[in-house]
């Protein structure tokens, strides 16, 4: 964004962002002590409290399942249980849903194909998949196909941060044509992930190719940025779009009625 545009934006009267009655965050690293997200239960609760105050009603806890963070499923179950109870005890009215963020590598894909469930619980087999660095288009198409033919539905996590998508944004259109859902990170909108990610995120919003705007929060600042991003999207793209990407589509993905 140019300086002029920035100045112009300041002068422009912003439209108040009113959180919808239902607000589903499909991507968060909120589970304590499993990956590079919240490290302690206190940190998790702090994040959840802030999220609740912001107006978020559902959080899908999606710990990494990757080479860097091979979270064991049992560990996740324990953390999930712990957090759910803590939230209940604290009297916060947020619903925590179990999920995963699967790294798209042959090892992890094979595990899904072997019948392990990494989907969002409650959804009809929707799985959050992130593309690792250096992947090529052919393997994305091939790998996604092998997953989908087995009945796994794919939510593509933060494509705007991936080098492959950044150099070939039209790939998103092709993937959406194959029923892949697109999840954009709030922090990309704010600019935390650099100018290119921000540019691509805005372009995807402009093309109306975003299905979910989620926090991908690793800490409290993640939720602060989530709120900021929603305000930015609300200002630039309007109420309908924001409602669609934080309420309508994420709700139907997560199977929330």
């Amino acid at each position: 964004m140019t300086l002029w545009a920035k100045l112009f934006k300041i002068n422009k009267k912003s439209i108040d962002f009113i959180p919808p009655g239902r607000w589903v965050d499909l991507h968060s690293h909120i589970l304590p002590g499993v990956d590079d997200g919240a490290q302690t239960l206190e940190k998790s609760l702090e994040m959840i409290r802030y999220a609740s105050e912001t107006g978020i009603t559902h959080i899908v806890a999606t710990p990494h399942y990757s080479d860097l963070f091979p979270t064991p499923p049992k560990k996740r179950e324990a953390a999930l249980k712990l957090l759910k109870e803590a939230v209940c005890d604290a009297g916060i009215s947020i619903k925590i849903i179990g999920g995963w963020e699967i790294s798209f590598t042959d090892v992890h894909i094979k595990r899904i194909l072997n019948g392990e469930d990494f989907g969002i619980s409650g959804s009809r087999n929707y799985t959050l998949v992130e593309l690792p660095n250096g992947i090529n288009k052919a393997s994305v198409i091939e790998g996604f196909f092998s997953l989908m033919i087995e009945g796994t539905k794919i939510i593509l996590a933060h494509p705007e941060r991936n080098s492959l998508i950044q150099q070939d944004i039209d790939l998103i259109k092709e993937l959406r044509f194959r029923e892949v859902k697109i999840q954009v990170d709030a922090e990309s909108i704010v600019g935390v992930h650099g100018p290119t990610a921000k540019k691509i995120a805005f372009e995807l919003l402009k093309r109306d190719e975003v299905d979910s705007l989620s926090s991908d929060a690793h800490s409290l600042s993640g939720y602060k940025n989530y709120k900021k991003a929603c305000e930015i999207v609300n200002n630039n793209f309007g109420k309908e779009i924001i409602n669609k990407i934080i309420n309508d589509v994420p709700s139907s993905i997560a199977g929330i009625k």
Binding site: D106, I109, P132, N133, N136, E142, G143, D170, F177
Partner: protein, 649 residues
């Protein structure tokens, strides 16, 4: 897709953006070169400016008026040919550069004992030419002012030349006019003399005419004749009366009278003739007289004008050209113009540098980016390995996955693994890793791919089939003695003897063994096929490191037997055509090429595509840039430590 045109438009926009980025990349890549050339040319320009002989310019300001000569009305045109002011002014300016003026000026300088003698000019003409090169005349627009500028190495001389030239110019102009003035004086004199002569001649003619015709003065003669006639006639009348009144006169007397009468009549007749004659002569006489008078009149006028001329010519001032400002020795040289020269040097250097950069880029046909792989080699791009920071030595790179299983390079190798396994429909059990030339990173790639595959849980075997420069046994620490492939192929070892365990549980190694004198013959042994078949039964993945394809056929033999080939290309070093030839060669013998791994890509200085990678690295994993930097520093420290450790060992 439903909206093809939209995609097309986007593509075109993309292409433009890519072009722009490509140019930006080239400029960035060759920035040191461009800056170097710019600095060099700037320095040259500066040194030239400092070393070059200084040239000074002296300036004198002249005012050229279109003065007039009041002496003789209507004589102005004689001095100033051409009517319009502009023409006049231009003429005057051109006169500054006339050779005659310069010649006069050079003579003047010689007489002033400051002769103008430039280098290499011996003849007068050469000197004039040399001087003409120094003179510039700059009229001040919309005024009668002219700047006369003269350049010279010495400020004093420049001023002297400028002033002398102005002086000579004015002098020549005055001389010119004075000569005209003098000419008029002489003209008057000669005219007067001529006319005096004419008058004299005409008077002579008149005199002769009068003598010839016996005329003293026509009117007087005529009157006298007429009077005489009258008197004669009255005398005749008297005589006749006398004769008539005196009848009684004697015959003698009468005869005498009659005789007198006849004489008288005769006399009258003569007088009458004379009067007629004089009348006839009067026209001629008057004509003579008028001619003399006219000549006399003109002579009088000439004399009076000449008188007038002599009395006023001293008051005539021909100086219509004045020096307003005399030239002073300039304090600062006009040449060399340091700022201009340095600026020019800089701009020229920049243009030259950019030109050279683009030319080198144009000549450079090495494969540098994933785009090059897809555009020129037309095989799948399997991934890239960025250049590792220079502080890390080769050993560190080769154990990259082992050393840093969570680093970005390990991440790249895992992506390559995924790409290899997913982007082909063929079975991926036996993989030949090769390259076109030596030292492109085959062994490193082979080891790391084997390692990521082993770590993914596949039972992996790596075979060092490079029996020319085997290196795997040096990189991977092996247990037991080093019997290897050559031992088995020559029948000197069993399979179990040559398979070695590695530090990684699922990774097994067959080293090259002793280097044989004839690797091709050994590889052509039927035992190779048996080996591969048996190994395929035992292991999930078999990675085969081979010699480069361009020199020897070892890789081709193996490629024909294996499921496929992975080509390692060293970014910025392997030439398109050579890599292409290598790939085509393998395809010809029936090898399948899975794709290309681009090695040694400098992500901080690579093409547009890698620009994204660059961004990716910067912003990867959402921890922000600063933490990443800290990470890098830490890693550097770590690696330094490690290096120290190894050196101590």
């Amino acid at each position: 897709m439903e909206n093809n045109s939209g995609i097309l438009e986007n593509n075109q926009k993309d292409v433009k953006e890519r072009d722009f980025r490509m140019y930006a990349r080239i400029l960035l890549k060759y920035a040191p070169l461009i800056i170097g050339i710019t600095i060099t040319t700037t320095a040259i320009a500066f040194i030239y400016s400092v070393m070059a002989t200084e040239v000074y310019e002296a300036k004198t300001m002249l005012r050229i008026e279109r003065g007039s000569m009041k002496v003789l009305p209507g004589l102005d045109n004689a001095f100033y040919s051409g009517g319009r002011d502009y023409d006049f002014f231009q003429t005057q300016i051109k006169l500054f550069r006339s050779r005659s003026l310069i010649r006069a000026m050079l003579n003047e300088l010689t007489s002033m004992k400051t002769p103008f003698s430039p280098e290499g000019a011996t003849t007068e003409e050469q000197k004039i030419n040399a001087f003409l090169g120094k003179v510039r005349v700059k009229p001040v627009p919309r005024s009668q002012l002219v700047h006369l500028c003269v350049e010279d190495g010495s400020p004093e001389k420049a001023a002297l030349y400028a002033n002398t030239l102005a002086k000579m110019y004015i002098q020549q102009s005055v001389d010119g006019k004075m000569s005209i003035v003098k000419h008029y004086g002489e003209w008057f004199d000669s005219q007067a003399t001529a006319h005096e002569r004419v008058i004299r001649e005409r008077e002579e003619d008149f005199k002769k005419f009068r003598q010839d015709n016996n005329i003293v003065e026509l009117n007087i003669d005529l009157t006298a004749s007429k009077d005489t006639l009258k008197r004669l006639q009255s005398q005749l009348n008297d005589l006749e009366k006398k004769i008539a009144g005196n009848d009684n006169l004697g015959d003698i007397k009468k005869f005498e009278l009659e005789q007198a009468k006849a004489e008288m009549q005769e006399e009258i007749k003569r007088k009458k003739d004379r009067i007629i004659e004089l009348d006839n002569l009067s026209a001629q006489y008057n004509s003579f007289k008028k001619k003399i008078l006219a000549a006399q009149n003109y002579y009088t006028i000439l004399l009076s004008r000449a008188e007038e001329w002599t009395s006023t010519k001293d008051e005539f001032d021909p100086r219509n050209i004045n020096v307003i400002d005399k030239a002073k020795p300039p304090t600062r040289p006009i040449k060399p113009r340091k700022t201009v020269n340095v600026l020019f040097g800089m701009i020229f250097g920049m243009i030259l540098g950019v030109g050279i950069a683009f030319f080198i880029e144009y000549l450079d046909d090495t494969i540098k980016s994933p785009t090059d792989v897809e555009n020129f080699l037309k095989v799948p791009f399997l991934g890239l390995i960025p250049t590792v920071s220079s502080t890390q030595d080769l050993a560190a790179i080769e154990g990259i996955v082992e050393n840093q299983p969570k680093g970005t390079i390990a991440e790249n190798y895992r992506a390559i693994r995924t790409n290899i396994l997913f982007s082909s429909d063929r079975p991926v059990r036996q993989l030949v890793v090769t390259s076109t030339g030596p030292s492109e990173g085959k062994t490193t790639t082979a080891i790391n791919i084997a390692e990521v595959m082993a770590r993914a849980g596949d039972k992996t075997l790596i075979i060092d089939a490079d029996m020319r420069r085997p290196r795997i046994h040096k990189v991977i620490t092996l247990e037991g003695d080093e019997k290897g492939l050559s031992n088995y192929l020559t029948g000197n070892a069993t399979l179990d003897e040559i398979i070695h365990k590695s530090p990684i549980e699922t990774l097994f190694v067959i080293p090259a063994g002793p280097i044989p004198p004839n690797p091709v013959e050994i590889l052509n042994s039927p035992r190779l096929k048996i080996l591969l078949d048996k190994m395929s039964e035992r292991y999930d993945r078999i990675i085969i490191d081979t010699p480069p394809v361009i020199a020897v056929t070892d890789a081709a033999i193996l490629a024909r037997m294996a499921d496929g080939v992975i080509f390692t290309v060293c970014g910025g070093r392997a030439h398109r055509d050579i890599v292409k030839r290598g790939i085509n060669g393998l395809m010809k013998v029936g090898g399948h090429v899975f794709g290309v791994i681009l090695n040694n890509v400098n992500i901080y200085r690579a093409s547009y595509y890698d620009y994204y990678y660059y961004n990716y690295y910067r912003y990867a994993y959402g921890y922000g840039y600063r933490e990443k930097k800290v990470d890098k520093k830490k890693r550097k420290k770590d690696s330094n430590k490690k290096n120290k450790d190894t050196s101590q060992l």
